[in-house]
Amino acid sequence: MSEVHAHTVAFVRTSEIPASPPPVAEAGAVKWIKDNLISGPFNTIMTILGILVVAYLLAGLIPWIANGTWTGADIRECREILQGSGGGCFAVIAERWPQLLFGFQYPDYLRWRPTLAFVLLFLAVPPALFVMFLPRWTLIVTAIYPFVAYWLIWGGTILSPIVAAVGFLVGYLVFTKVEKRGFVQGLAAGIVAAVAVWWIGGVIAEEFSRVGALEVVESRALGGFMLNLILGVVCVSLSIPLGIVLALGRQSKLPIVKGFCVVFIEFVRGVPLITLLFVANVVLAYFFPPNSNPDLIIRVIIMITMFSSAYIAEVIRGGLAALPKGQYEAGDSLGLDYPQSMRLIILPQALKISIPGIVNVAVGLFKDTTLVSVISMFDLVGMIRGPILSSTDWTGVYWELWAAACVLFFIVCYGISQYSQWLERQLRTDHR
């Protein structure tokens, strides 16, 4: 547009018209409702149905929670307090809370120990979960935690967990020294060193069994939500390394190794967890040396770990398969041997891809730990079905107890799955 033209045409505006507000029907809440709730006859019907469903649920839930009582020693007192107001008898949760958490056999005066272990879990887990934001040395806390937690929950001399930890440490140090000669030699030397330390340390720990001794708690005294947490945490952390080995074995070119891994993975994935728990309960003891008689909880941990390692192996195999072939070839062309290229090039990337999948398996596994109630272990579900509902004090208080169980599991599982979604966003390095 020429300068002259701009001056000769009188009606060209020189200033902008101030934006006028949109029509009422096209802005704010009204537009939102119009677009999202009543945009058509079908949508309107759906909205009405949805509101009815929500109203129905709330009409049932709100009086139940609001009128509920948290005091009362048994069901009869509860009924007196409630006077038929339709509220829930939450007193059962208040009264049986320690049992729901710790089971009914864990000594009352020792409950601070698993509680402390649980609190420490929040120190130990973040370094592993937020590994890209926290300094690497914090992983030491994570590494020490299992031994401390074992000592706190089961008690006994502090020497046994220390010996176990020292064994791992010595094994690792020997491995790093010998590794220069070759990965396999390093691994073998590390294992020999660790076993030697455990053997010698075991004798010492036996000798000084009173050093730093906490009162011993039998495995069968464990119960409640604590048992679910222990089984979940232990089995997931044991099955990740196993799963990596199985996944690599399934990808391997050695037919015998590959065949074994395929058969193991497909077998375990093809049978329900409950049959594996039956194995732990009645069959597994046959295959241990006579008179060794391992704890039920150890046998259950073995079987659940087998179970979850097969699933984790499949997730990691997916990660391995998703890597472009060029990555493998790059490792070869740099002259790295198999262990080196796996550790330095392939696994870091493959594990990064498979973390969300592993977290999903972990959530599923944590939910599946409730199945141990079927083989008469008293986890949270077992506690509710067994000792609490069958006690004469609380017969017929189903909803409050199951609601408590639902809330506990929901908090943990929803928390973990939100974490996994967050992690997925963090790890997304492509630009979409």
């Binding site: 677009d35 999202n36 709730l37 945009s39 949508n43 759906m46 909205t47 949805g50 509101i51 469903v53 929500v54 070119k253 050695l254 037919p255 015998i256 190794v257 074994f260 497909e266 077998f267 994935r269 093809g270 049978v271 329900p272 967890l273 409950i274 049959t275 039956f278 194995v279 009645v282 069959v283 003891a285 046959y286 295959f287 241990f288 040396p289 006579p290 959530v363 939910k367 599946d368 409730t370 199945l371 109630s373 079927v374 579900v381 079905r385 189903y398 199951w402 169980a405 639902c406 599991f409 929901f410 599982c413 929803y414 799955s417």
Partner: protein, 409 residues
């Protein structure tokens, strides 16, 4: 001095190559692996051979032909407590398959509905579905099974409320539509009765299904060859329904429905769905439905917007965009996880033991095992059944999956 083109000197095989040469090293590793495996298994076998209980019992399946001596409350085929353990096992297996099939069907329905509705523009509906998915995914299925069992066994009205009171007044409750009755003993539903000539009606119906497929392919051929659009929807509905109804009418209603009737103490006729079956069926359906909903949602979201926009630009109507463009591509993403959800349902039916549904785990792995003490044999057989079944389902589904998979050239 050697040149690059010199062939390597032919060397004899040296022992050191077994460790240092990548060509031979794999043999060494496999040899070590197989020795370790043999050692591990023989250690386990040795321990088992030393076990007193196993020594006393031996290993045999002879107990399967002995009388079982226990009752089963849901009998798809005839059974009494004098029948053998084998028959009890078969009944358990059938019961497993029944509940697995029912739960797969309903879980798919719930999952597809919830998955599609979660993508709806309607804020309330999509949020409701999100809440449904999150709540059911994050709470163990065992808890759901027990909760629904508690609902069915404790909050449904007792049988007596359906009974005619002595004074001749009306009963407190009547059957829903005269067909369904939910009592705390279970839910009564009508039973389909088959007269002598009933199979003709069923055969007619099956033939009509084949006819519908023939009709559709005829319409497609007409469209491709001559460009004529033959109406498909109404004719196929007519082909599907009319012949069977006609046959039913001509033969004098051989197919009938037997409603539950109140007898003196309980209902006669109809089918009784026990609370354990209802709990298992419903809990597995809504639990797995939540997972399937996520798979469906992910499958639909995986189809880029450009696909449906391109279809719209070609002038396809919304229904056709869905059925011709979006769904075929989305199914490719949805089917594989759906298969594994079906497998999960089948495996999770083993939780029946928690509510007393007599499936395979409860008969073979439960009562038979406890009565005979043959733990190893029972559990091996139990695992074998689930394993075979899982492998068959995944094989069948893989065939289907390959047929819808992307054909890359």
């Amino acid at each position: 001095m050697t040149t690059m083109t010199d062939p390597p000197k032919a060397e004899g095989f040296r022992i050191g190559q077994l460790i240092n040469d990548t060509r031979y090293r794999s043999y060494t590793f496999q040899f070590i692996a197989i020795v370790a495996l043999i050692f591990a298994f023989s250690w386990l076998a040795y321990n088992a051979s030393q076990n007193e209980q196993l020594q006393a019992n031996g290993f045999s399946y002879e107990f399967m032909s002995a009388p079982a001596g226990y009752d089963i409350n849901q009998q798809p085929i005839s059974y009494d407590s004098q029948d053998t353990h084998l028959r009890a096992t078969v009944i358990g297996a059938i019961n497993t398959l029944i509940v697995a099939f029912l739960a797969c069907v309903t879980a798919t329905v719930f999952g597809v509905i919830a998955g599609v509705l979660r993508l709806s523009n309607n804020w309330i509906i999509s949020k409701l579905m999100a809440v449904y998915v999150e709540i059911f995914r994050n709470i163990p299925v065992l808890i759901w099974i027990i909760i629904i069992f508690t609902v069915a066994a404790n909050t449904f009205p007792p049988m007596s409320e359906f009974r005619l009171p002595r004074d001749g007044s009306d009963p407190t409750r009547t059957l829903l539509f005269g067909m369904f009755a939910a009592t705390n003993q279970g839910v009564y539903v009508p039973r389909l009765t088959l007269g002598d000539t009933g199979w003709i009606v069923i055969a007619t119906f099956l033939a009509s299904i084949a006819g519908v497929f023939g009709m559709r392919s005829f319409a497609r051929k007409k469209l491709y060859d001559e460009g004529k659009v033959v109406p498909v929807l109404w004719p196929s509905i007519a082909i599907l329904i009319v012949p069977a109804v006609l046959m039913q009418f001509i033969l004098g209603s051989p197919l009938g429905v037997e409603n539950p009737e109140m007898g003196r103490f309980s209902f006669d006729g109809g089918i009784l769905l026990r609370p354990s079956l209802i709990a298992l069926w419903f809990a597995l359906s809504i639990y797995t439905g939540a997972f399937i909903a996520e798979n469906v949602r992910a499958g639909i979201l995986a189809i880029s917007r450009g696909q449906s926009e391109a279809a719209a630009a070609l002038g396809l109507r919304p229904g056709r965009i869905m059925s011709l463009v979006v769904l075929p591509q989305a199914l490719r993403v949805i089917i594989p996880p759906l298969i594994s959800q079906y497998l999960n349902i089948t495996k999770n039916t083993s939780l029946a033991i928690a509510v007393g549904y007599m499936d395979l785990t409860a008969t073979l792995g439960g009562i038979t095992l406890n009565q005979t003490g043959r733990a190893l044999e029972c559990i091996l057989l139990l695992m074998l059944f689930y394993l075979t079944f899982s492998l068959i389902i995944s094989a069948v589904m893989n065939v289907y999956n390959n047929s819808v998979a992307l054909k890359e050239r």
